[in-house]
Amino acid sequence: MFDARLIRNQFPILNTQDRKGQPLVYLDNAATTQKPWQVMEALADFYEHHNANIHRGIYQLADDATQAYESVRAQVAQFINATPEEVIFCGGTTEAINMVAHGWGYDTLSPGDEVLVTAMEHHANFVPWQVICDRTGATFKVLPLEPDGSLSLTSLEQALTKKTKLLAITQISNTTGIINPLAEITKMAHQNDTLVLVDAAQSIANDQIDVQSMNCDFLAFSGHKLYGPMGVGVLYGKSTHLEKMSPFQQGGSMIYQVSNNKTTFKKAPHKFEAGTPPVAAALGLGAAIRFINTLGMANIKAHAQELRTHAWGKLSDMNDVALYGVALESGAIISLNIKDIHPHDVATVLGEAGLAVRAGHHCTQPLMQHYGIVGTVRISFSVYNTLSEIDHFISALSKVKSLLS
């Protein structure tokens, strides 16, 4: 294990204070994580020493930039146990999912086919499928959840049929932290020749991901939830799928040959990277992965579990607090509500005390409809959070209650 207090030193923002001089207690890591200095350094280093457009240059700078960019691709591949050809850089989870929904879906789906998603999906893994089904005439199906918000594998098994062309599912719910057992799920899906797209936005920074043993067909995540910069993300896809899939965007760098009548594309992954990519951000992602590897994913996971268990215990002792999701086997996230107090009012009072928490539907309106609520207060943990920050949060909650109820 590691000492979170020492890790904090690597995050400049955690050593700043807000306008009232309070230190930042950042518990909104599911929205975006803070960045260690190594990431800022990688950005600055690129622009100060290596900035050039990649893939097309015959001078040193352009070659350096290309090699650096491609080496991050190899690093990402290793991080998730894929090959570099299966790693596509893009803007983030949202773009990664849209690439598949529109690239794969447009060519593949037709009336009679089904796409299945769960009711716990983030809008990014829900709406693109709804839209492409609407365009192609395929049926968009939403798998209902158990009362506690978890997925029943029995219901899933029943919902999967030969008609189900693709299952789009999150590995960890960004609202409740509930973890879906993906290795089992892909096995079930593949029995019906159903492809599985995994939304790993929340799991990528919190658990070791191995696309081989998970055996997913596609997997999407964002750099900014992994201590990296905003504006870069990854789509992993099995080579056999990528070969057949149409490129979502067309432009420079992904072209094999262009003429007035006909255009051919390069092979994956380049086929899917049209135009100038976010090279500096990709290098920042590389630095972030190095940061994570130094800490060790097992330690990171254990730390998050310690924080969550501690917080869940304290919260479940408070009798006017409702908790959503399940106590155990969950990601670094807790959603709650205080009786009769709107989540935004809670977050405003906490914000005044220097606590950054999120309130609202967390881009999971279908899940809110499942629970019959409009929103929750969500706290989410990262490597630099400490038990005393959790205690600070718990005691601030009491102040909220005394002020608002």
């Binding site: 935004h344 009012d345 405003t348 005044e352 409009v374 608002l404």
Partner: protein, 142 residues
């Protein structure tokens, strides 16, 4: 706990939130106006009839935070039984208070105006008012 925060939440708002002034569904209303904030999901319906140019039977229903509820309740109180002309000037007065341009605002307006000192909360205070304003813009007649 800052003074601004106390002002925003204490006394006035808490009282209003608990009171049920104007909080009432009415499906047979002549006009049902939606007030929705996609960012936070707060959603109210405002019910009203217009009779001879006067707003009648104004009420609201829905779900929202303490600030948006208090503000909606205030709206019902402020516009009930007013003529369209008077409603429009009342709205103007309300926005002036919210912007801090009115030097001596009523206590409740002043409390609501505090919302602009809190991140992401400005819209809570004006959600229902914005919806009514849009409605009145499209509504002919004075």
């Amino acid at each position: 706990m800052s003074e601004d925060l106390k002002k925003l939440y204490q006394a006035v708002l808490m009282e209003r939130q608990k009171s049920t002034l104007g909080f009432q569904k009415r499906e047979d209303a002549q006009h049902i106006i939606e007030a929705y904030n996609p960012v936070c999901g707060d959603q109210f319906q405002i019910y009203l009839d217009i009779e001879n140019g006067f707003l009648q039977k104004v009420s609201y229903h829905g779900y929202g935070c303490a600030v948006s509820k208090a503000s909606s309740s205030l709206l019902v109180e402020s516009l009930s039984a007013k003529s369209l002309v008077d409603c429009r000037s009342q709205l103007q007065y309300f926005y002036q208070c919210m912007d801090g341009k009115e030097t001596q605002p009523p206590e409740i307006y002043e409390a609501l105006a505090m919302s602009k000192n809190f991140p992401g909360r400005q819209q809570c205070a004006t959600l229902s008012w914005d919806a009514i304003q849009e409605f009145l813009l499209n509504e002919k007649g004075t």
